[in-house]
Symmetry: C2
Subunit: 338 residues, 2 copies
């Protein structure tokens, strides 16, 4: 059972102790406790915290950007946690400092999180060079996206140079994670063509690579067939990244097979895109896109108060039943302003 008082006390503490330049300094120095505090501040919805959080972001801005941002999506059961454990182990052994974050739309409902079960990341969970933070568990998807984006920047300022952002791929979360990462990877399972058909619309055109996990034992042959199927489709689609041909691979996270190959693919991708300028172009495009999204979120929050929301619902119903035209409905919505 949670102790509600505990949370309140912690929040109060954060609020009292906030001295932004000092907090920023501690984060830059790599202090994990202060990094956590910074993220908690970012995740707070209180207005005075939002202001402080902006101040913090501004302080840290010049220390951000120096990482590889890697997005990972896949259906439940694809073995994301096991894969991240295996991949992370490889990265740590090469001297990387890793942050593992998540955008988990379901956690905003259930309060749970896909990263909640750290038992599948036994090694990473206890390694000093690894920082794991579950998805913010409240707010809209847009709100969660904001928090995760800012958390990426905080982790970068704290010296983490490989950021993994995991998402289970419900609703629009893949698009959101694609929009904040450099390389986007779909973790899939073995399966015949029929099983591929259930795939989410548009996902194949977001990815830089597809990895078919659990390619071991009696699964192996089928996994290789699935890989060929994916490669067949990928040939026909417009790649997500200019001048990069996405390909499918197989691996077994459980037996640590094929992980090194994917590591090489990602590094090759980073090298290539840094050389041809796509890396930087994507980063600045993402920042501007993000700013535009924030503007839209704010515009809607400002316009749609409780009354407007109710009116909108009623008007939608009338439009659906062809009682009024869409244009007329929108006129009524905006006239009610005066």
């Amino acid at each position: 059972m949670n102790n509600p008082n505990k949370k309140r006390v912690f929040k109060k503490k954060v609020q009292e102790q906030i001295h932004i330049p000092e907090l920023a300094e501690k984060i830059i120095s790599g202090n994990r406790g202060y990094l956590s505090k910074g993220i908690t501040l970012i995740e707070s919805s209180a207005a005075h915290h939002r202001e402080k959080a902006n101040e913090l972001m501004q302080e840290l801005l010049t220390y951000t950007g120096n990482s590889i941002r890697l997005g990972i999506t896949g259906v439940p059961g694809a073995g994301k946690s096991t894969w991240i454990e295996a991949f992370g182990k490889t990265a740590v052994s090469k001297g990387y400092k890793i942050a593992v974050l998540a955008v988990d739309p379901s956690s905003t409902l259930s309060g749970g999180s896909i990263l909640g079960d750290k038992t599948r990341m036994e090694f990473l969970a206890h390694h000093p060079d690894v920082f794991i933070r579950p998805s913010p568990s409240s707010g809209t998807l847009g709100g969660v996206a904001r928090m995760t984006r800012e958390t990426i920047l905080l982790c970068e300022a704290a010296g983490y140079d490989l950021i993994l952002v995991e998402t289970v791929g419900v609703g629009q979360s893949e698009g959101i994670v694609r929009g904040m990462t450099d390389f986007f990877l779909l973790l899939s399972l073995t399966g015949a063509g029929d099983e591929l058909q259930g795939m989410k619309k548009g996902i194949m055109e977001l990815v830089d690579a597809i990895v078919i996990n659990k390619a071991d034992g009696s699964n192996k042959d089928q996994a290789i067939q699935t890989m060929h199927d994916y490669n067949q489709i990928l040939r026909f689609l417009t790649p997500a990244t200019k001048d990069w041909k996405p390909r499918a691979y197989t691996c077994s996270a459980l037996y640590n097979e094929g992980i090194e190959e994917i590591w090489d693919v990602i590094n090759h991708f980073i090298d290539e895109t840094k050389k041809n300028g796509e890396f930087d172009k994507r980063r600045s495009r993402q920042a501007v896109d993000w700013m535009n999204q924030l503007v839209q979120i704010r515009l809607n929050e400002t316009f749609f108060d409780r009354e407007k929301k109710i009116l909108m619902k009623n008007l939608e119903k009338q439009v659906k039943q062809n009682e009024i035209s869409a244009t007329e409905a929108v006129d009524l919505l905006f006239k009610s302003n005066v």
Copy 2:
């Protein structure tokens, strides 16, 4: 050379003569001249015309909806006009009244239009049961979308029961046309796998059918191969319409081959979706989506005056250069309001 005075006089005339109930009645009676006048009213951006146009839409609302709305996209050179001529001929011979409209993003720049060249629609251009209207040639893509949507309704009220909406597929115009039609068709050309690769992102997941045109003479074998390639990809994608498997077909609009087959496909589609309820569901979803888009357009128009637009551009530049965070930029944008 255009006579600018001519246009002004015509506009003035429209304005003077507007008596909405009478205009509505004439449109419902099938008078083509008044239908054109109604559309001109809809395309006017003057505020008092907008009000009159809304009034007209409201009058006609109960007379709308009784048509098949067919979207057609394809690259320049795919033979859209020739295909529409052949398809339209078939439809007319079966007793349909046809309206041919266009959403042409390029015409907002050039003032030209993909339907401008009526010489390729010799038969349709002179047939009493056919009404052809080029794309509105001014306004934003959102504005053009509004006009075309309302023009569809006007044509329906005037008794046209097959509406063809053509688009060249630049930018987001396919998505817009998909969003206002029941059946969406991609007209393509013969081409090896390599040529398919240049296809627009996401287009394959919008279509209900793909038609490979110019499948005649020495092109025929290659067209059939292309058809197989397309079918291969379509197998793996999520269909645009529930319980409908999009397929590729070949045809020769020039030699009038394969047109009847596509006619049957479309009719089969309409039957099936009316039976399983998807037809009506899509229509009301489209109306509500459209209303939501209009709300977003209005919110942005209201917020972004000249000064705000300039400020936004400047802030975007700063965000791009990592001088300020996106959140901070948006704060500044909204604070400048007070």
